[in-house]
């Protein structure tokens, strides 16, 4: 099983021949991900990294049977790339691109509504199911196969958590980097839900940040569902000053649930084991599993 990506995933790379796309596509192929081709408008018909290049996603899907796309297209064209992938029938769209205008993302997110598509990101490290598929930019060797799922807003903090899980003698089922932008395709709750329903995942690490309300929403959902699997949580930004990242009026919508302290409290109340220190994620997970 595992979630989102596995050894059967047929992956195409949008922005295949650009420098970022080339480098990471090479790394993914080396990892063993089944990269079946790439898309760069205007370069169709050529070959890159031993894989075919197509002009459109539609053509790539028809010729290769691709079902997963990873996007490295520059920010000005990335929302368009997401919608092109959706239109072509791709069901998992993973967007690495950082810096997409909010207005573009609002439209792209609306476009994929009710189409049965999972958009991961943007501004994320991607998704990895160790030993099967790495569809992202994370260092593959850190993630050893196991039964702990990870959901995280942050890139390097995901690697940190995975490393601690592995050093604790455990391993990773699937790690999902959901991204740190104001608008993302798959918020924390949706990502946690995938792992809760995955028979190959025994427990979940949930890593959040200040701002927005994704973690409280996820925490309440976990509780409503009866805390089916143990969750260890961490919120980065306990020492971050208020008002530096968000506008004045923006704080109202998120309400009082925006701060790290508030999020941690809600998570604890919902039965999540919350760690104060990001250095204790691995050991805490081990303790939680042993006490079960």
């Amino acid at each position: 099983m595992s979630v989102l990506v596995n050894k059967n995933s047929r992956v195409i790379v949008q922005g295949f021949t650009g420098s970022e796309g080339s480098f990471h596509a090479g790394q993914m192929i080396e990892y063993g991900t089944n990269v079946v081709g790439g898309v760069t408008p205007g370069k169709g018909g050529s070959e890159h990294l031993g894989r075919p290049v197509f002009n459109t996603v539609k053509e790539a899907v028809e010729k290769t049977g691709a079902d997963v796309s990873i996007i490295f297209v520059p920010p000005a064209f990335a929302a368009d790339a997401i919608m092109e992938a959706v239109e072509a029938g791709i069901k998992v769209v993973i967007t690495i691109t950082e810096g997409i205008p909010v207005k573009d993302m609002m439209v792209a997110k609306k476009y994929l509504q009710n189409k049965g598509v999972k958009l991961i990101g943007p501004n994320c490290p991607g998704v990895i199911t160790p030993g099967e598929a790495k569809v992202g930019i994370m260092p593959g060797f850190v993630f050893k196969k196991g039964r702990i799922g990870i959901v995280s807003k942050s890139g390097t903090l995901t690697y940190e958590a995975a490393d601690q899980i592995v050093k604790a003698g455990l391993g990773i089922s699937t790690a999902i980097g959901i991204g740190g932008d104001p608008i993302i395709g798959t918020p924390t709750k949706e990502a946690v839900e995938l792992l809760m329903n995955d028979p190959e995942t025994d427990a979940i690490v949930m890593i959040g940040e200040i701002g927005g309300n994704y973690e409280p929403v996820a925490a309440r959902w976990i509780k409503e569902q009866g805390n089916k699997k143990p969750v260890v949580g961490f919120i980065a930004g306990q020492t971050a000053p208020a008002g530096r990242r968000m506008g004045h009026a923006g704080a109202i919508i998120g309400g009082a649930e925006d701060t790290a302290a508030a999020k941690m409290k809600i998570m604890e109340e919902c039965g999540i084991t919350v760690v104060d220190s990001p250095a204790e994620i691995g050991e805490t997970m081990l303790k939680v599993l042993r006490s079960k």
């Binding site: 205008p101 909010v102 609002m106 609306k110 930019i137 309300n213 109202i252 104060d276 220190s277």
Partner: protein, 403 residues
């Protein structure tokens, strides 16, 4: 990106949003000139002198040097120069600027819009911003204008009207009418109000704004609707398609170290603590700040070096952190993925030698690709640098150097 009130109003005006008119000035002489022009244009008898800084609370705030408020009224052109003198060049301290305040380089000379007439002038609140969880813009309005909207939200949440806009179909006329009715507007005020909301939303989309806050929005004594203040925040990611707006950036409003860091491709936020840090990735950077606190220190900054931690970025980071006299130690925390730890370690050693006399202890925690080679390079460098691989060891080191 934030812009000044006078800039925001000028742009909104281009979209047909009605505003309190004004002319910006940066000397007492040009302020007189501005007042004369404004009087000729609008017939106003009184003048509102408004400090232009990137912070709210200007009316209640005071100029440290003179005791003048940040927004004052001149009841004739003759009163303008002295009142402007008491503001320009001074340091305005408001509840949003912190104790250090902000220097006022410009004032807006604005028309008086609270003139008496058939009705009482009334203030409202109106804003447009992104609702993250719904992934669409939301218009918020309230009859409680001129107040701190966060207090209204807390004490009288029922007095805040929210209207969510479908980003694809846009603001519909019935939605603008709903807001106008809810605010109790009638007759000419209703007509003008609906038009105001429409124009404001068009501007929001056209400018790629992330927030507009019109507080107060005024219904004048003759039932006109206009923006008395305008806080405009633009989406940094979209500035590439608004070159004219990008030019409105006023770097004198920003922390000089943050500006310098930005030029070096670093994301830096100055804080008040005693332990500096340099990290790759925003989440890990915040987590590292948390570790510093848990180890008995206070973070002196947030610093994300991004994906490419090399000798140049590390050196630039060092130089910026070391300019802060409060820094007693520095923690470098790099999780090497694509970046190899041995290269980062060489970068640290190179930067250290280049800068020379670094007096504060440095803890370098390198984990990930080639972590052990990296630690070896640090340890064999002969420099006063502590090395760690595990995050908890790094935390322990911070504790030791602070005690």
């Amino acid at each position: 990106m934030n812009i000044h009130e006078y800039q925001g109003k000028e742009i909104l005006k281009k979209y047909g949003v009605t505003i309190q008119r004004g002319i910006v000035a940066d000397t007492p002489d040009s302020a007189i000139q501005a007042a004369k022009e404004l009087q000729a244009e609008t017939g106003t008898k009184w003048f509102v002198i408004k400090s232009q800084i990137h912070a709210g609370g200007r009316g209640k705030g005071k100029i440290r040097e003179t005791g003048s408020h940040g927004v004052v009224l001149a009841k004739s052109i003759a009163e303008v120069p002295d009142k402007v003198k008491a503001i320009l060049g001074g340091t305005l301290v408001t509840h949003q600027t912190g104790a250090e305040g902000k220097k006022v380089n410009k004032v807006l000379i604005a028309e008086d819009v609270y003139y008496p007439g058939e009705a009482q002038p009334k203030e409202y609140y109106l804003s447009i911003l992104l609702d993250r969880s719904k992934a669409c813009p939301v218009i918020m309005a309230s009859t409680e204008g001129g107040m701190n909207i966060e207090e209204v939200a807390e004490e009288h949440p029922e007095k805040i009207i929210k209207e969510w806009i479908d980003p694809v179909v846009g603001l519909q006329p019935f939605q603008a009418r709903k807001i106008a009715f809810a605010l109790g507007w009638e007759g000419n005020a209703f007509k003008e109000g609906v038009r105001f909301i429409n124009s404001l939303y068009t501007a929001y989309l056209g400018l790629d704004a992330s927030m507009f806050e019109i507080n107060p929005l005024l219904k004048t004594s003759d039932n006109k609707i206009l923006a008395v203040d305008a806080k405009v925040n633009l989406d940094d990611n979209a500035l590439y398609r608004h070159k004219d707006l990008a030019e409105l950036r006023d770097i004198t409003e920003e922390d000089p170290l943050e500006v310098e860091a930005g030029k070096a491709g670093l994301n830096y936020v100055k804080l008040d603590g005693n332990v500096g840090c340099m990290v790759n990735g925003a989440g890990l950077a915040m987590a590292t700040m948390d570790i510093i606190k848990l180890s008995g220190g206070e973070p002196a900054n947030f610093l994300d070096v991004g994906g490419g931690a090399n000798a140049e970025t590390v050196e630039a980071g060092f130089r910026i952190i070391l300019k802060d006299p409060n820094v007693k130690a520095i923690l470098i925390n790099i999780f090497g993925g694509i970046v190899r730890c041995d290269r980062v370690a060489n970068g640290v050693v190179e930067a250290y030698k280049k800068i020379g006399d670094i007096k504060v202890p440095i803890i370098v925690r390198l984990q990930g690709t080639n972590a052990e080679e990296g630690a070896k390079i640090i340890e064999q460098s002969g420099l006063k640098v502590f090395s760690a691989i595990l995050l908890k060891d790094a935390a322990q080191r911070v504790k030791e150097v602070l005690s």
